[in-house]
Subunit: 334 residues, 2 copies
């Protein structure tokens, strides 16, 4: 008898924070791969802020997840059956497998990974989209130069932690903005940031003025809202703002708040630029090799926040929007 | 007996639209130029949206005009006395002479102009900061390529009209956004824009979708607010937004409205960049020569809205913020 496949389907478009009733938990037969397909048993599921955007009914870089569809998610797994010559049973793979225990795929966008090089979860963290977003967002879009001041928000988050460490490797003055004393301690003492600003207990605008005496040259924004405005108020001439995300705004029940002081871009001749990591697919390998070398040299640290159990998905996802995760958030399945 | 000098001084920081009580009209002696200085009789005073920002008490690219100081303004005039070897009596000059009949200056930032080349008012329009802003904002910051779609707001205004015509010269598809049927007729029939959108009588977002079937490649923004949001909703991948101004927001009594859909920069991998014309001073001469040639060839037209009388300054300035000027607004003095 084939194993059953448990999965989460989108039941309704959430308003604000996704509620448990926005999801349907289903038990279905696994199914059999057809010619050209493979069956993947999912081991880890990546939980990412972008998931909140994927379930809005708006035009974006990808179509939204439809009502009734399996929730989209990146993941890691092991091939348990294959009718695709590129993959053999036992291969470890990463891809967009969805929030479920088993995925059938034609292999497009699926990559083989090697758990002997680094532990599996790192392939969803530094060596996955998280790390690639940090690497290309900072280096390609932000273009930091040695000695410049780089500020990153959600600095103890998965992307922010990598951004700050790469900026240190590039000899920048690095200031991280994070929520709470423990996250601030982590980024300074464990990750080597020059300074941390606790947005829950400090006036971010004033603290940025104090920590960035020559202004901000590169601001890597993961949060939007009031912190983006505080950064705009402290730009150096010619500053670059990398717009990666706006997690403070994703669960708004009304429109996203645009930065009321965006004309700071004019007085500072500054740039605000959006980036999507998928545009850099042809350079992932090179970036991965460079980051693996930094990890091996102890210059690039990372941690994962691994929650056990597929069924916890609805509540575990909310940790992201409440700032409760410490490190890259993912589900361990099966 | 030396002539008297009439002038407007800033009396109070305006809230919203500047009121007549925010200004003091004064009659004072002209004074005598000291060694190294010259006396300029002002003939034309440029009225610009940026003036509204110069009187806010905020950190920007220039210090704000102080309470009690003569209002800052660009102008044209004729030298009536000189103790500066660079200037002779009878020279026509442009510079920051203020809202007054006579200015004494040490000559820094003062440029000689020749009324035999083009009529004097053109030196405050296409051959002045207005034209330079359009030229460098579009070409240097916007980087339009032939065949791309360029959209400009306040398109019948002084800067917008030049932006659209240069974009046509560069073989772009050009759409202007303006208020009212007459301005829309003007930019299409007289200036050669491909299409006009009347923001007072159309849904700008929908009309942009119709006129820009492949999306907007370059959006030159003079207005901010809802029109900026409509443009952000219609970007092409890799779009560039040139942030020149936000005249719809300058007279707000509260904060400026930031664009609530700025995350369109992410999904479209787009850039929003501020520019200030003063950074291009070393290239004004080259740009002026190129634009004079376009004017002579009939490819670059412009018009001035010249109001007589210094005393009308407080009410004439408001024409800008009410969209009542047709062409470059200036005062004719004396």
């Amino acid at each position: 008898m084939p194993p059953t496949n448990h999965k989460f389907r989108l039941a309704a478009r959430p308003v604000g924070m996704p509620k448990s009733s926005d999801w349907t938990y289903a038990e279905e037969p696994v199914g059999e791969p057809k010619e050209g397909e493979l069956l993947v048993q999912v081991l880890y599921i990546s939980l990412d802020p972008a998931m909140r955007m994927w379930i809005n009914d708006v035009r974006s870089y990808m179509p939204p997840v439809g009502i009734g569809e399996v929730m989209r998610a990146l993941g890691l797994g092991i091939v348990t059956a294959s009718r695709n010559p590129r993959f053999a049973v036992g291969d470890h793979v990463s891809g967009v497998f969805g929030v479920q225990e088993y995925a059938i795929t034609d292999g497009r966008g699926v990559t083989k990974i090697d758990p002997r090089v680094v532990p599996l979860p790192k392939y969803l963290n530094v060596l996955g989209m998280t790390g690639m977003t940090a690497y290309f967002g900072l280096l390609d879009t932000g273009q930091p130069k040695p000695g410049e001041t780089v500020v990153v928000s959600a600095a103890a988050g998965a992307v922010g932690a990598v951004v700050g460490q790469i900026a240190k490797i590039k000899n920048c003055h690095v200031v991280g903005i994070a929520g709470g004393a423990e996250k601030c301690r982590y980024i300074v003492q464990d990750l080597g940031f020059d300074a941390a600003i606790d947005y829950k207990n400090e006036d971010v605008k004033q603290s940025l003025r104090k920590q960035c005496t020559k202004g901000i040259d590169v601001y890597f924004d993961n949060v939007g809202g009031a912190i983006l405005e505080a950064a705009l108020a402290n730009l150096a001439r010619g500053a670059r703002i990398v717009v990666c995300g706006a997690i403070s705004q994703y669960c708004n029940t009304g429109p996203i708040a645009g930065p009321s002081n965006y004309l700071s871009l004019v007085s500072n001749r500054a740039t605000m630029k959006g980036m999507l990591v998928i545009d850099y697919a042809d350079r992932y390998a090179q970036a991965g090799a460079e980051m693996a070398a930094w990890m091996a040299a102890g210059k690039l640290k990372s941690r994962e926040d691994i929650v056990e159990g597929l069924t916890t998905f609805p509540e575990t996802l909310l940790k992201l929007f409440k700032g409760e995760n410490s490190g890259k958030l993912m589900l361990k399945v099966g």
